[in-house]
């Protein structure tokens, strides 16, 4: 979309509330942030930045990473590809470098979706551009971190991820806040383009300050035989998080899978959904959500739309309520527009069965150990198609998150 058109649309939507989630007063957040400068190597980041980023899977040593992007508040401190088939830069830089990027800019997500997308257009603070050239396959993932340090800041990023034909792109992305930071707003627009025969795995771990408002806005366009796997892990307190990423299966035999792992401590409100539009024969989607509340609110949405015959979709949501005041609301939606589609869902919300805890206690585990074992097992989603080191990252994030809150 041309800049001028995007701006026009954004302006028209500047006060449009989101369909879901509590409305946020954008004026309550500041746009001013200090310039953090740049570093020549990721490991030269300040110690606290590295520590907090490590928690969300960002390795400052860059061992087993094909490249890195690091943005603190509005400053892109580091971006580098270590693999010749991959490109890593800020979207500001990419827009200046590639005229053709306009063809992707705001094509998957509308700038006028709501006031958050509008703000991302009108007050953009960079974001990352990650691209795998045709046929490129890196053994290791790229890593990208969006970090916030300033209390009360609004960080509005716009990310573009393109996997060109036949390429493979693995991404670990982490969002985190500085230890002392309490409140802020993060708006993150992410547009994914998965070309013919390409494969993207996107693993996102969030670790926000307790009083953060977070509004990611993401969509993926998946072409013929393309594969888009999205894993989202949020196990730390966040005042309000609302996201509903959408995948469009545009090409035949395209595959989409969303895995969401959510843990809502007291005071947290998470409204997280995954949506897929199956628009080409043979396309498939699976959404798996594991939600645990230890006192917070979780709305777990899912919406599959079968628009053509011979498509398949499945939604699965399981929720565990570990505290009296916790609430989980699973809202699975299946929408069939034609005959010849195969779509299903299963959802279960409840507490851990006392009988199971007692059973494990009869083997000598304490009540806490038994609960922890069951919770660990609950979160251990068998994530198909992920490289082993990414699985390990997710396991690590899950166990770290769980340890603090539950064990």
């Amino acid at each position: 979309m041309r800049k001028i058109d995007a701006e026009k649309k954004a302006k028209a939507a500047a006060s449009r509330p989101s369909v879901f989630g509590p409305d946020i007063d954008l004026a309550a957040y500041s746009a001013e942030a200090e310039d953090h400068g740049s570093v020549r190597r990721l490991k030269e980041l300040p110690a606290e930045f590295k520590d907090r980023a490590a928690y969300v899977g960002i390795d400052a040593e860059e061992d087993c990473r094909a490249g890195s992007f690091f943005q603190a508040d509005h400053t892109v401190m580091f971006s580098e590809s270590r693999h010749k088939g991959l490109e890593v830069m800020s979207t500001v830089e990419a827009l200046a470098k590639y005229d053709w990027l306009e063809d992707y800019w705001w094509e998957a997500v509308g700038p006028d979706t709501d006031k958050y997308t509008a703000q991302a257009e009108l007050k953009q603070n960079s974001g990352y551009f990650l691209r795998a050239l045709p046929g490129a396959r890196a053994e290791f993932p790229l890593q990208a971190c969006l970090y916030m340090t300033r209390d009360g800041l609004a960080q509005n990023v716009h990310n573009i991820i393109i996997a060109e034909e036949g390429s493979e792109l693995h991404i670990i992305t982490g969002c985190a806040t500085a230890q002392r930071m309490r409140s802020g707003l993060h708006v993150g627009v992410s547009e994914f383009y998965v070309k013919k025969d390409a494969r993207v795995t996107f693993t996102m771990v969030h670790n926000w300050a307790e009083d953060m408002a977070v509004r990611p806005r993401a969509a993926a366009v998946v072409e013929e035989n393309g594969v888009f796997l999205s894993n989202y892990v949020c196990m730390k307190p966040v005042r309000t998080l609302q996201m509903y990423p959408t995948a469009y299966c545009m090409g035949e035999n395209s595959v989409v899978r969303f895995n969401n792992i959510l843990l809502a401590p007291p005071g947290s409100s998470m409204d997280v959904g995954s949506k897929a539009c199956l628009r080409a024969k043979g396309s498939r989607v699976e959404v798996v959500t594991r939600a645990i509340t230890s006192g917070g609110d979780i709305i777990a949405r899912g919406h599959l739309i079968g628009e053509v015959p011979e498509v398949k979709g499945h939604l699965e949501c399981r929720g565990l309520i570990l505290a009296e005041k916790g609430r989980i609301h699973a809202i699975p939606e299946l929408q069939g527009e034609v005959s010849g589609i195969d779509m299903s869902h299963e959802a279960a919300v409840g507490k851990i069965a006392e009988e199971e805890i007692r059973y494990l206690m009869a083997r000598g585990l304490s009540a806490d150990e038994a609960t922890a074992a069951i919770v660990r097992g609950f979160l251990d989603i068998e994530i198909k198609g992920l490289p082993e080191h990414l699985k390990a990252e997710i396991r690590r994030a899950v166990s770290l998150g769980g340890k603090d809150r539950l064990m």
Binding site: A353, Y359, G364, R376, G377, F378
Partner: protein, 246 residues
């Protein structure tokens, strides 16, 4: 090893065991007969410390220590093990992980022993599976025994280990129980003891028991030689026990 005296137990305000007295000595295996609803499983659940089973009076003394008020996990750590008749499936927890926890609790570090136990019970393919999820009746029985092997308790309670087990498997089940109860040693050399609930008594063709108790209406009704008691029950049914009492 285990002394139960005057044990009266209620569940949700209803008395289900009324003054149960019995004991099991080191090296012994006792068998518990009784019709459905006579309180056999309730007795086992009370001994393991199920919180729904409230002890109104009486005591449970294990290896000289009064355990009447102890929580289940502490009883297990002291050396009481149970193979449940109908255990729940535990979604998300793999059998191997539980077995690993069991051997760690007793201070064993060599994880290979788990594979060896699993081989003996033909359960190697089940180690990666979630506990009891989708297991057949016979597989559940063997999985319960596998967990007991990993626990290695001194006092072993088996709730109907022979129900729903085919003829080939019951032989294996019997062998494993004999192994756990150290039946290859002379009675005085054994350090363990066991209590087996059996409905039909099939397991007694494979495992020798030293003494039988008959439960009726929530109390121990009589005791005697297991084969004689079983023969009487087979001949006259539990009604015969009632007549006998008169």
């Amino acid at each position: 090893m285990l002394q139960v005296r005057g044990l009266t137990v209620s569940v949700a305000g209803r008395t289900i065991l009324g003054g149960v007295d019995f004991h099991v000595d080191r090296g012994e295996t006792v068998v518990l007969f009784g019709p459905n609803g006579s309180g056999k499983t309730s007795l086992l659940k009370t001994i393991i410390g199920h919180p729904d089973y409230r002890v109104e009076s009486g005591s449970i003394v294990f290896k000289g220590r009064d355990i009447t008020g102890l929580p289940t996990d502490e009883r297990a750590r002291l050396g009481i093990g149970i193979a449940f008749q109908r255990p729940p499936a535990v979604r998300g927890v793999r059998l191997k992980d539980l077995l690993q926890a069991c051997i760690e609790i007793r201070g064993e570090t060599d994880g290979e022993i788990i594979d060896e136990y699993a081989r003996r019970l033909n359960l190697e393919d089940f180690l990666r599976r979630e506990i009891n999820l989708g297991f057949s009746g016979g597989e559940i029985k063997r999985s319960e025994l596998l967990q007991l092997m990993a626990q290695a308790p001194d006092f072993i309670m088996l709730d109907e280990p022979d129900s729903g087990v085919d003829l080939v498997s019951i032989n294996l089940v019997g062998e494993v129980i004999n192994g756990m109860l150290q039946k290859n040693r002379r009675a005085v050399k054994r350090s363990r003891a066991g209590m087996i609930i059996t409905h039909a008594g099939y397991i007694l063709d494979y495992v020798n028991a030293d003494r039988a108790y008959v439960m009726l209406g929530g109390a121990i009704f009589c005791s005697g030689n297991p084969r004689d008691v079983l023969a009487d029950i087979r001949a006259k049914g539990y009604e015969g026990c009632v007549v006998c009492e008169r």
